[in-house]
Amino acid sequence: MKHMTRKATRHVSQNENLIFEKSSPGKAAWKLPPLDVPEVDTSKLLGASERKDLGNMPEVSEIEIIRHFTRLSTWNYAIDLGMYPLGSCTMKYNPRVNEAVARLEGLANAHPYQPEKISQGGLRIIKTLSECLIEITGMDAITLQPAAGAHGELTGLLMARAYHQSKGNPRKKVLIPDSAHGTNPATAAMVGYSVENLKSNDRGIVDVAALTSQMNEDVAALMLTNPNTLGVFEQEIHKIADVMHAKGGLLYMDGANMNALVGKVRPGDFGVDVMHLNLHKTFSTPHGGGGPGSGPVAVKQILEPFLPKPVVVTKTDGTLGFDYDRPMSVGRVRAFYGNFGMFVRALAYILANGPDGLRQTTEDAVLNANYIRKGLEGVYDLPYPTPTMHEVVFSDKLQAKKGVKTGDIAKRLIDYGFHPYTVSFPLIVHGAMMIEPTESESKEEMDLFVEAMRSIAEEVDEDPQTVLTAPHSTRVSRLDEVAAARKPILRWKPAE
């Protein structure tokens, strides 16, 4: 390879089979204490309900389990290893003190139904985090119950629907810009709304004239991501809010990109009625290979009666408790109170930052995205020259002339020691390359990234085949996804 990377060096990684292939009868990684009550006759107790056999469950020792999962872990890329510039995913540093405090005995072992009297610590955490998030968003009330961003969208739209219903008409449609995340239309469908597409203008933002003509009394809400998935702030946001409100509609904000706004501007101040946050994006709780997340929904006063129940309240004696008496509530969206462990982590992040740290974080996130943009402009096509906030979207237009697509460049980036950017999204940009560095990247790491991206662009000119067949440095080469979907093998089975 002519273009060698400064970021990464290949090294040996261990092979490891499936755990079932290491199993043999008689091995064990467990030991139970002696029973302090009489043994029981299980077949007498359970009768026909007794299970006799646990099939192909593994039998392995503890050291094998440690090695198994440690080896698997080394096959993953992670924020802890380097820049993870997935656009709209906000892959920022996950502070370790968050993990430590979430494991404190009284928080980790608390049963959700233990009496309120001995739950004041947990309730205080919920209350404090709620207050912080209300202040950060500029909204009036909040629920922490939703388990993830999409779940928050569902909750928010259910509340919007309940609000309209209370006025006598739930309305029929939800407007969604063509740049939106797929969860937005999927959520609208789950809440029984039809989806009407809203076209972006040539600057990549909402076309206010189009919005005005599409807005009517059938429209329940506009679901808007701001900054949008191009990393562009909706500059005419006040007009957008006015158009919605004039016809009695609600402005829903998808808070996926809140990392561009915290401490600098508050959605509640620019006309948003309901929004969700992703604690696993903006507030540093770990993505964990796909979850858990947490998707609090903040609302204006008009929607407060519809919040899922229960809500945390201060009782007359000054202690905290759950209020279930909420006749207008949309109901529950999840058993218990939500992903509490994520609340603990998100609040720890807010406490570690304070108002000055939160603002600096946002400024650095925007600064970093603009620095990446500057470094790659001219080398890659920038379809929308509109000012960049926390992420920047390029396209593969220049490279596609050589037959190299965004997905190929992404795979080649792996060889340079980076996780790829978000590929082929947003849909309004053909061959999109969506880059969000977050505040967690140093100048040095970003310089390496820019160098890698520039080097790949040169490779596309000189030796496109290298890029087209990438990655070359991973344990497995490109995997056959078509075969995986055509004849799905979704579980291991013993050889016959």
Partner: protein
Amino acid sequence: MRYLPKSDADRRELLKAIGARSIDDLFAPIPAEYRLQRDLKVPRQMAESEIVDWYRERSRENGDGYCAFLGAGAYSHYRPVIIDSLISRGEFLTAYTPYQAEISQGTLQSIFEFQTMICELTGMEVANASMYDGSTGAAEAVMMAARLTGRRSVVIARSVHPEYREVLATYAWHQGMPLSLAGFSKTGRLDLKALEEGINADTACVLIQSPNFFGTIEDVEAIADIAHRKGALLVVSIAEAVSLGIVEPPRQADIIAMEAQSFGVPLGFGGPYCGVIATREQFVRQMPGRLVGQTTDRNGKRGFVLTLATREQHIRREKATSNICTNQALVALMANIFMTVYGKVGLKELAKQNLAKTAYAAEQFGRHAKVLFAGAPRFNEFVVETSEDPYAINSRLLGHKIVGGLPLKKFYPELGNAALWCCTELTTRTSIDTAVAMVAESERSVQSGKEAEVTEEVTR
């Protein structure tokens, strides 16, 4: 700020490179009237030591050191130490959803193993990578059944976790999905006659839980038979996963929606937990949530990828099977490690200990108070009816650092002074005996109170 890897000199250099005069230039797209000109009113920046102290205080206020007899959808089981050792590895903890398969094989293979073990334990053919929790998993399973049958309504057993039923009601609200309830009989099991009457030609599925909310194991075969005869599917919710070690899984179900919290996931005041949906192969294309499949790379080497994504929101948008995106991956990894540690033999022995502790406790309570639903097998929960209000008994138990059973009045008014008690392998005989003694004392004092009244009556 200690998480930010930049000096002020770095920031100036970056601004210079960009060609901006100040950071404010970069925020110029935001209309000036909305830009916040003050500090956010959140607590000041704290040192790590202060944060730890603050949380230690909250932890002390939160039931630290109590022994709880609470189950009801959240179970206290021992968590092997290696679970946290392994999930704390940054490569698992700080990775995103494994869309880039070549550098996500660790996560992908572990999910494939998780799916396999869930299939083995539930007797189903396919399992997904996880749902948010047992309650939302059950609601999504019901919606999946509606898509599969083209029918609209649902019959729900009243013995399904009341909060799961509330979640389903919320989800069903705007789907035009009529819900009806089928009660339970004296044995605590679903009333089969009520079920039979409840199902009609529009019933997409029957939703039950087994072991049910009272800890009673349902007669799944009989229920499946009734549902299937009327063309409805059977969805079974499993809230206590450890039961699968000793209780025959509901193999006759069409969809199983499970909560895997019992498999090594901390109680954590209610979350994060780990839902999962398992079903038959023929139904997989209507299944919500991510799936990992096996395939090969260009050299024929085995590898794993996310697959059947055409069911999902990022491809199908409003036509997707669900809006779910982020799931509970790291929690599923906890469950995966737990299942691997206990395995084929350990899970059975673990479940047996739960059974033994519960049988002992039920017997002891039964000597002094009424244990309801004795006519059907149970796993690790049982319902005790006392003469005194269980809240009053529980508040005395708190003085002994014991949290008594969950009073059921709130969910089932007709059960009066009944409470749901749970014993796991972690419940000691000593704490059972202490709780039983308190209940016995309560019964004696109610009894002597009654006798005193009678005596008073007689003397009058």
